[in-house]
C-alpha cells in the first residue's frame, strides 16, 4: 500500500506528550491499585450501584440530546455572526465552565426553584422540577452545553464558509445548506462535542446534588453514589469510580465516529 506521508513531528515533542499522557493516566491507574478486588464484584453489582448506573446513563443521554438540540443552533449563530454583542454572548455561554458546579446548582435553583425567578410560573403550570429526574437532566445540560457549543463553534469557524457559499450559489436555501453541507462537514467537531457533553454529564456532581438532591432511583446518579460511599466506605467509592471510568471509556470508544476526537 502506498501511503500519504505525514510531515513528521519533531522528535522531542514526544517527551512532553508522553509526560502529559502519564500525568493523566497515572493517577487513574494508581487509583485502581487501591481497589479491594475480592469485594469488587459484589460492590459493583449491588442494587444501589445498578440503579445509579442506569439513572446516570439515562439522564446523560437525555442531556446530550438536549445539548444537541440547543447547542447546534447556538453554535451556528455564534460562528456565523459578528459584532460586539456576539462576543458578550459567547463569554456568557462559557459561564457554566467557570462556575463551580455547586454554584451552578444554586443558580439553577434561583431560576427554576420553587421560589426562583420562574418558580411561580412553573408552579402555576403544575410543573415541579426540583428533586425529579428532570432536574438532573437540566443540571447536566447546564454544565455540558458549553462543551458542545465551544467544540462546534470552533469547528464551524475553522471549516469556514467556502462550501456554504458554493451550496447557496447552487440554489440551496439556508436550511438545506445547514443540513446537507455545513453540519456534515463539521461532523468530527460535532461528534467530539457530543462526546464531551456526554462525558461531562456522566461525571456531573455538584450542580446535580444542589439542584436535584440525592435520592436513590430518582436523582442519585453514579457520581452522587460515589460521593455518598466515600464517607463510609472508601473502597466501595473507588470501585464505583472505576465502573464510571470503564463505562465512560466504553461509551466514548463506541460512539465516536472514526477520525473524530
Amino acid at each position: 500500500m502506498s501511503h500519504t506521508r505525514h510531515v513528521g513531528l519533531p522528535r522531542w515533542l514526544f517527551v512532553p506528550a508522553l509526560l502529559a499522557g502519564a500525568f493523566v493516566v497515572l493517577p487513574v491507574v494508581a487509583m485502581t491499585t487501591r481497589i479491594a478486588w475480592a469485594d469488587f464484584p459484589s460492590l459493583v453489582t449491588s442494587e444501589a450501584a445498578r440503579s445509579a448506573l442506569l439513572l446516570s446513563l439515562k439522564t446523560s443521554t437525555a442531556s446530550t440530546v438536549l445539548c444537541l438540540l440547543l447547542g447546534i443552533p447556538l453554535a451556528s449563530v455564534l460562528a456565523r455572526s459578528e459584532g460586539r454583542w456576539i462576543g458578550v454572548l459567547r463569554s456568557l455561554v462559557l459561564l457554566p465552565l467557570v462556575l463551580p458546579p455547586v454554584v451552578g446548582g444554586i443558580a439553577l435553583l434561583s431560576a427554576f426553584g420553587r421560589q426562583g425567578l420562574l418558580g411561580g410560573e412553573l408552579e402555576a403550570l403544575g410543573i415541579r422540577i426540583a428533586f425529579t429526574s428532570v432536574a438532573v437532566v437540566l443540571a447536566q445540560t447546564f454544565v455540558s452545553l458549553p462543551f458542545l457549543v465551544v467544540s462546534l463553534e470552533g469547528a464551524l469557524r475553522t471549516a469556514g464558509e467556502r462550501y456554504d457559499v458554493v451550496a447557496a450559489s447552487l440554489g440551496a436555501r439556508p436550511t438545506t445548506v445547514l443540513r446537507r453541507v455545513t453540519l456534515p462537514l463539521v461532523l468530527p467537531g460535532l461528534a467530539s462535542g457530543a462526546v464531551l457533553a456526554f462525558a461531562r454529564s456522566l461525571g456531573e456532581f455538584g450542580a446535580t446534588i444542589t439542584f436535584a438532591g440525592s435520592l436513590e432511583g430518582t436523582t442519585r446518579t453514579l457520581p452522587l453514589l460515589i460521593y455518598n460511599l466515600r464517607v463510609t466506605d472508601a473502597d466501595a467509592a473507588v470501585a464505583m469510580s472505576l465502573v464510571l471510568v470503564v463505562v465512560a471509556v466504553l461509551v466514548i470508544g463506541l460512539v465516536r465516529p472514526k477520525g473524530s476526537l
Partner: protein, 240 residues
C-alpha cells in the same frame, strides 16, 4: 491569617510561627472567633484554619496534610485518626450538639412536631445516613418509632440548609448551631426527642506536629476560656 509564603517579616528564628487547625465545617464561625482571641494572646503566632467534613479532614491528615490540631464533629472519625496512630494523646470532648427541625421563614408547611416530618405532604430533606447529621436523624426517627421518606438525602448539612432556605423543601433536620448561624433565613423548631441523640465534638493534637506546645495551648483555649464562644453559638457543654 497571612499567606505563609508572603510573610515579609520572615518565618525563620524569632519570626512568626504558624499553627494549623483542622476543624469540622460546623465549627467555622466559632473557631474564627477563637482564632482572633488566640492571636491576640500570642502575637507571634499565625493561626490557620482548614474546615471540611470530619471524614475529609481525617483522610487528609492520613494522606499527609500538615495539621497541628484536629477538631472533629463526631467520635467515629476521631477514632479513625487514633487508630491510624496520628493522635498525640487522648482526644478531649469540648462541645455537644443536638438536632433541630429547620423550616423556611414563615413555616409554610405548618410543622410543629417531629411526627409532622413523616407526613406525606411534607417535603423533607435529610443528610445522607453516611454523615453524622444523617445518622443522628435516623437514630431520632428510630427512637420515636417514625419512618421518614425524604425527597433528598444530602451529602452535608449545607445541602440541607440550602434546600430549606430556598424554600425548595418544607423541612430539614440539622443542628441547633446551624439554625443559629443561618439567622433570619431559617426558623428552628425544638423537639423533645432530640435529647436522645447527642453529638459529641472531640479535639486532639496531631502526632508529629512541629508546634506541639501551641497545639496544646489551642486545645486549652477551646476547652477552657473559649467555651463561652461555643455556648453563644448554640453548642452544648460536654457531658464529661
Amino acid at each position: 491569617g497571612d499567606d505563609a509564603g508572603a510573610g515579609g517579616a520572615g518565618t525563620g528564628d524569632g519570626g512568626e510561627r504558624t499553627l494549623t487547625v483542622f476543624a469540622a465545617a460546623s465549627l467555622t464561625t466559632t473557631f474564627e472567633e477563637l482564632e482572633e482571641l488566640f492571636e491576640d494572646a500570642h502575637p507571634d503566632v499565625d493561626v490557620r484554619l482548614s474546615f471540611g467534613g470530619s471524614s475529609d479532614l481525617v483522610a487528609q491528615i492520613t494522606e499527609g496534610a500538615r495539621a497541628d490540631v484536629l477538631a472533629s464533629a463526631d467520635i467515629a472519625n476521631m477514632d479513625k485518626l487514633v487508630s491510624a496512630g496520628l493522635a498525640a494523646g487522648d482526644p478531649a470532648e469540648f462541645a455537644t450538639n443536638m438536632l433541630m427541625i429547620a423550616v423556611p421563614p414563615g413555616n409554610p408547611a405548618g410543622i410543629a412536631t417531629l411526627a409532622d416530618l413523616a407526613r406525606k405532604d411534607v417535603e423533607l430533606v435529610l443528610c445522607q445516613p453516611e454523615v453524622p447529621c444523617g445518622r443522628a436523624a435516623l437514630e431520632v426517627a428510630d427512637a420515636a418509632g417514625l419512618t421518614f421518606s425524604p425527597v433528598s438525602e444530602e451529602e452535608s448539612v449545607s445541602g440541607v440548609l440550602t434546600k430549606v432556605e430556598d424554600g425548595e423543601a418544607d423541612a430539614g433536620l440539622v443542628y441547633v448551631t446551624d439554625v443559629a448561624a443561618a439567622g433570619d433565613d431559617l426558623e428552628g423548631i425544638d423537639f423533645p426527642e432530640a435529647a436522645d441523640v447527642v453529638n459529641h465534638y472531640p479535639i486532639v493534637a496531631v502526632e508529629g506536629s512541629e508546634h506541639a506546645d501551641l497545639a496544646q495551648q489551642w486545645i486549652d483555649l477551646v476547652v477552657g476560656d473559649g467555651r463561652q464562644v461555643l455556648l453563644d453559638a448554640g453548642f452544648g457543654t460536654p457531658a464529661s
